[in-house]
């Protein structure tokens, strides 16, 4: 069983849902970032989404935009992110999904990316601006069923399209909770429940819900209906607010524990 499936199975056995944590790699500094990530993984993050910074993150709100800017100031490249991944893989078994816009991957070389990401111990990649219509260039040479391209479904996605996306998906499906950028407010739990119910018709994969989930209550509500709860901007906001604090990593660990607790059902 691959790391992703194991993570969902472990969570289910403990009667909880998977906590999926996103942070931008190299924010606020390379060393601090590694420390934060390790602490988060020890404190309850079941699946790590590791963000590759991009100069023009058009699907992200201000919080993740700023985290991306900080990481770019630290000269973090896709190459650095792969190095961080390989280092983490020495110590942790948590599945790592790289989270990127397509251009850094395209510039690196899609096939080379696949080979290096797998070698580094990543378990998949989510490419925000790469719909199924364009993804053959990336996945054409993939021959390892255990490395997933994580597909997205949005509230705007019509049924036939959900079916199509689900048919080519692996790992898990990422359900976007609302029509907006990352970090937007106004979570609507009953709409999320509807979306989960609809996608469930077309897929047996674990369904993770993300975008705009920030409070412990949000997590508890989403955990009622989905297999995984994704938190990104809320972690990045915490990093930003405590950027100079010596106990930054501990603060993130503490928050992670609170979220993890809320995924219990």
């Amino acid at each position: 069983m691959n790391r992703l499936s194991k993570a969902f199975k472990n969570a289910a056995e403990k009667k909880e849902k998977a906590l999926v944590g996103f942070v931008t790699a190299g924010d606020p500094t390379l060393d601090e970032s590694k420390k934060i990530i390790k602490k988060m993984c020890e404190s309850g993050v079941d699946i790590l989404e590791l963000g590759v910074p991009f100069s023009d993150p058009t699907a992200d709100g201000p919080v993740i935009q700023r985290s991306s800017e900080r990481a770019l100031k630290n000269k973090i490249t896709l190459e650095t992110v792969l190095k961080i991944t390989a280092e983490l893989r020495q110590d942790i078994e948590v599945p790592i999904i790289l989270f990127s816009y397509y251009n850094p991957i395209f510039a690196f070389g899609p096939q080379k990316f696949y080979e290096k990401a797998r070698a580094a111990g990543a378990d998949g990649v989510l490419v925000v601006d790469l719909p199924p219509e364009e993804s053959d260039e990336l996945t054409g040479g993939w021959n390892d069923g255990d490395f997933s391209l994580i597909r997205l479904v949005a509230p705007t996605t019509p049924s036939e399209r959900i079916a199509k996306i689900a048919a080519s998906a692996s790992g898990f499906l990422y359900l976007v909770s609302m029509t907006g950028v990352t970090g937007s407010g106004g979570l609507n739990t009953s709409l999320i429940a509807d979306l989960v119910r609809e996608v469930r018709i077309y897929s047996d994969l674990p369904l993770c819900v993300g975008f705009g989930i920030s409070t412990v209550d949000d997590v508890a509500n989403v955990a009622q209906v989905a297999d995984g709860v994704v938190i990104g901007s809320a972690f990045e906001r915490l990093i930003e607010e405590n950027i100079d604090k010596p106990d930054l990593a501990e603060r993130l660990a503490e928050r992670t524990e609170e979220y993890k607790e809320a995924t219990k059902i």
Partner: protein, 407 residues
């Protein structure tokens, strides 16, 4: 990759394919939230744009409201001054609101209206596309919001006031360098959140499919008219067409009807402070294939795929991307792309003022700068047409400042 025989230019006009690919360029690189809207737009525009009623309404507005056809004017004094090829100017500066941008915004706004959308948004650099969008929205009674970088708000101030008078809300964008690219980022973010009732009017032949082909189809009226007009005036096709290239809409509009002819086509990008500096916006000349704002095309970027900061004295050309069709036309060498720098554009600006009594946009001045260099090298019976894509009223502050600096 291109096959050998695609060097043979027959068939260029068959692009893009059903998914918006111009060979390896184009496509749809956008968030899933937007995919359904973009797919619906593609379906609707294929239904609505060929509809005779739609066309009648569009043509009627282009004639009576925009003032088309715009004249093709023989620049006699400029030609005499340069002692070479005959220079004609396609006078898009005389279109309502002062640039070619209105051809596209009237088209897209009509389309949005037919699709039942009540609200339009747009990005703008020079402010010409913003003004043209606000104008079309006022004309059709739609709500309008324009995204504009803070640097551009400062250097194109008259257009900001015009947009406000036309009833548009302005969202200043201070991320990145506060220019066109950043305005487009923010417009896309806003669109993601409002896609159910909002139509995004993209201002150039860029963005995800179907924008590049749709905007080209709304702009090709420039080339269609030009062809008729030059045949009437000179009895033959021109030897050379010249247009500036930011995103590439005025160039695509002029070039498209001539793609199968033997006319030489020249696209002029912004050389900024020089190609040997980092401060230019010569995307096709110096860039490499990449993905930005929804399509694959040439992009100015670093080796890690981060988009590069760019510069041009002209806000409308100050953009690190370019439409995908231009990327194909560059690769198959059907269009030659070159550059004019800030100083050359300013000199051309001045020359047109003094020799023809026409104040050109700084964007268009880049095309003029190439014409001014090239015309004296050519025989006097050759015909050169420059797309005067807009007028320069918006640029007066910038130009006065730059000329003072020169002294």
């Amino acid at each position: 990759m291109l096959s050998e025989n695609s060097e043979n230019q027959a068939g260029i006009k068959e692009y893009p394919d059903a998914n918006g690919h111009f060979e390896r360029y184009g496509g749809r690189y956008i968030a899933e939230i937007l995919m359904p809207a973009v797919l619906e737009l593609d379906e609707q525009r294929q239904k609505i744009m060929p509809d005779p009623d739609f066309n009648k309404e569009l043509i009627d507005l282009l004639e009576k409201y925009v003032g088309r056809p715009t004249p093709l004017y023989f620049a006699k004094r400029l030609t005499e001054h340069l002692q070479g090829a005959k220079i004609y100017l396609k006078r898009e500066d005389l279109a309502h609101t002062g640039a070619h941008k209105i051809n596209n915004t009237i088209g897209q706004a009509l389309l949005a209206h037919r699709m039942g959308k009540t609200r339009v948004i747009a990005e703008t650099g020079a402010g010409q596309h913003g003004v043209a969008t606000a104008t079309a929205a006022a004309l059709l009674g739609m709500k309008c919001r324009i995204f504009m970088g803070v640097e551009d708000i400062e250097r194109q101030a008259p257009n900001v006031k015009r947009m406000e008078l036309l009833g548009a809300g302005i969202t200043p964008v201070d991320s990145g360098s506060g220019t066109l690219k950043d305005a487009m980022n923010e417009a896309m973010r806003h669109w993601v959140a409002t896609v159910s009732d909002t139509f995004y009017i993209i201002g150039s032949v860029a963005g995800p499919h179907p924008y590049p082909v749709m905007v080209r189809d709304f702009q090709k009226i420039i080339g269609v008219e030009t062809k008729k007009q030059i045949l009437k005036a000179a009895g033959r096709l021109p030897d050379i067409l010249i247009a500036c290239v930011g995103g590439g809409s005025n160039a695509m509009g002029l070039f498209y009807p001539f793609l199968d002819d033997s006319t030489t086509l020249i696209g002029v990008e912004a050389g900024g402070k020089g190609l040997d500096t980092d401060e230019h916006a010569a995307t096709l000349t110096c860039g490499s294939p990449g993905v930005l704002h929804g399509s694959k095309s040439y992009v100015l970027q670093d080796e890690h795929g981060q988009i590069a900061p760019v510069h041009s004295i002209s806000a409308g050309l100050d953009y690190p991307g370019v439409g995908p069709e231009h990327s194909l036309l560059k690769d198959i060498k059907r269009v030659i792309y070159t550059t004019a720098d800030d100083c050359e554009a300013l000199a051309a600006f001045k020359m047109l003022c003094l020799h023809e009594g026409i104040i050109p946009a700084l964007e268009s001045s880049h095309a003029l700068a190439y014409a001014i260099k090239e015309a004296p090298k050519r025989a006097k019976d050759e015909i050169m047409i420059v797309n005067l894509s807009g007028r320069g009223d918006k640029d007066l502050d910038m130009v006065v400042l730059a000329l003072e600096k020169e002294k």
